[in-house]
Subunit: 386 residues, 2 copies
């Protein structure tokens, strides 16, 4: 394996009722005024908002609110949030929601101390140097944002969806209560599972192989394949919700990709879809993934795909290519079994912008480290997903 | 799974040549004078000592040395080290060696700020409140001490070997260069592998089951079962050494036991052996483990042992008890294949002190959370290991 550097500074409080640590932990971290940021109000319906307010009030922590963060969070919201933090003297951000809320809050945390356009972080014009501390109260198993330093933001003006990352943006602590995900609808639960699996694929199908990391990747895949359908059919099943919640965190906290060059092609070409059509990221990933797999499958990569088929799906057979193709089919079938659309056309997307999206995807860098994708490769993948 | 709290503050620098970060990282952490602690000089023969000195001199960091830390480190050495740190104004400890050196340095780090007898930490008379920061330069894949807060120390006067732990004792950072383990002899490499596997067993055979953690435990076991024998037959095989080095860290950095009640019976009854007979910890574990497994195997636990057999050793068969027994045999055979003695009598240990050791093992607490062990159970395990 390649050399690596690992730092996991985010404290995790996992389990039922862990919200009870929020107030005292904020106090310990020196919080004197918080920003409470969330999405479109689901946390007000499922009790999470009330639990947080009780903690803040109970510990005498004043706060301001930023509501209405979108599923594909916008740079305009980042700007508004940073302004609010400056004006109100906020010294700690509470991100209460899914990955979109957490990503937005990380970007706000960095933008707070940056006098320029925060979009500069995403176009690589500047890097993150100073941030407000962030904590996450997670409400959806999906992005892993609760324990990593990444953020993905959409610029509506340019119709771009770009990512950036910094160790400084890793949350100080995150509260992961599986009960908070009981009310997540089936389609969002399914999209979250696809997102988790895609994060694993991006690191598993990469070079060089790393024995423990690849076995751990298979462990995460097997966990969500086993517990994901249970969480969808029994939304209140604590253990199933706990399994996918923790799997989602491990999938993207850095452990699986140690000493490997992650691929990330599927994510980058999906970002174009959700930037242009505002679709759910996990849904886009579920549609693109089997097509990406077929695109990069060749005699050289067949061994790794066959290993995936044998170890994760228990597919029997000696011929790598046959097992690999079956494994790819099983992947798509699994996403379909969760109720995820299997074609872009089901989302009302046609081929009219495929070339524009391919150009946009390639604007800032090459795509794909397991297999480099050309412009025409990307268009092929979009086209085969119709 | 049970609720859990996870914090992994130790930064890991993994790979060939990572010693080059030592000086600048110590400087960044505010080190003005270091204690360089090590064992009986193997680091002087394999170049590790010279590499460290070059880093310290290159960055103008003054240091004092503490040499001669024993494989089962003594409380007397802890006292001497703490005294040295006080007298010399040391503000950072560099633990260069295997788990014994790192454990000793953690205890020194805590004893530095404790005016009483440092053995009090181990008899639970006091807890760790303030420590000197520690970094580890690891030279053996085994204990996982490089990324956890535990320490095990031997008191020669009382012939006790006891452990304690604190998040405060987790190393600030650790340097893991697989090349530094090329010169580890076969018997120590083998004992290290047994130690790693035992750490996994203590967390895997525990309640409640946790889907991802148990799959990750199997991943660690499969890694060392695959790469361990390679490291023994080809001591300079970088990838094999890297695999077991990282597996050793993951085995005991907290991830595998999250939300589970670890068993730790085998470790506790082994500590009596190495306290009384000063044997290598991993060797003792390898001898006791299959006997512990057979002792706690019953109709209720057979399912978990059979799962272990099927998932880790690929044993076929529908009958849990049959597969479980085969899995236990395979475990013992694997240790033997690494050249580890399979009987206590091979180490010159007879039954004369078994009752004394059982009493000593039970002195501070009950033993075994997967299966509680009585005094006679412990004696049975020792006896069956003769």
């Amino acid at each position: 394996m390649n050399n690596f550097w690992l730092t996991l500074p985010t404290e995790i409080f996992f389990g039922k009722g862990q919200i009870s640590v929020l107030g005292k932990t904020l106090k310990k971290e020196g919080c004197t005024k918080a920003l409470l940021a969330y999405g479109h109000g689901s946390i007000k319906r499922n009790g999470v908002y009330d639990d947080i307010i009780k903690e803040l009030d109970g510990h005498g922590i004043p706060f301001v609110e930023l509501a209405g963060i979108d599923p594909n969070p916008r740079i305009k919201t980042v700007e508004a949030g940073a302004r609010l933090c400056r004006e109100e003297g906020v010294d700690f951000i509470i991100a209460a929601g899914a990955g979109s809320v957490i990503d937005c809050c990380k970007a706000i945390a960095a933008a707070r101390y940056y006098s320029g356009d925060p979009w500069d972080f995403f176009t690589r014009k500047t890097s993150v140097k100073k941030v407000l501390p962030v904590c996450a109260v997670l409400t959806l198993a999906a992005t892993g944002s609760e324990m990593n330093g990444g953020t993905v933001i959409t610029n509506e003006a340019t119709r771009e969806k770009l990512s950036t990352g910094s160790i400084r943006m890793k949350p100080k602590f995150s509260i992961l209560d599986p009960v908070y995900t009981f009310s997540v609808p089936k389609d969002q639960t399914a999209a979250g599972i696809a997102d988790i699996m895609s994060h694993v694929f991006e690191q598993y199908f990469s070079c060089p192989d790393a024995v423990l990391q690849d076995l751990m990747s298979e462990a995460v895949l097997k966990t969500v394949i086993m517990s994901g359908p249970v969480a969808i059919s029994e939304p209140d099943n604590y253990n199933a919700r706990a399994d996918i919640m923790w799997a989602g965190t491990v999938a993207l906290n850095g452990l699986l990709g140690l000493g490997k060059d992650g691929d990330w092609a599927t994510h980058l070409i999906e970002h174009e879809l959700s930037a242009k059509y505002d679709i759910t990221h996990g849904t886009g990933l579920a549609i693109l993934t089997p097509r990406w797999m077929k695109k990069v499958l060749d005699t050289e990569s067949a061994g790794k795909f066959a290993r995936y088929g044998r170890n994760v799906w228990s597919i029997q057979g000696d011929d790598d290519m046959t097992v690999a193709l079956q494994a790819i089919d099983r992947t798509g079938e699994f996403f379909s079994s969760l109720g995820i659309p299997s074609k872009l056309s089901e989302l009302g997307i046609d081929s009219s912008r495929f070339e524009e999206m391919a150009d946009s995807a390639l604007k800032y860098s090459k795509i794909g480290r397991f297999r480099n994708l050309s412009r025409s490769d990307i268009i092929d993948i979009y086209r085969s997903s119709l």
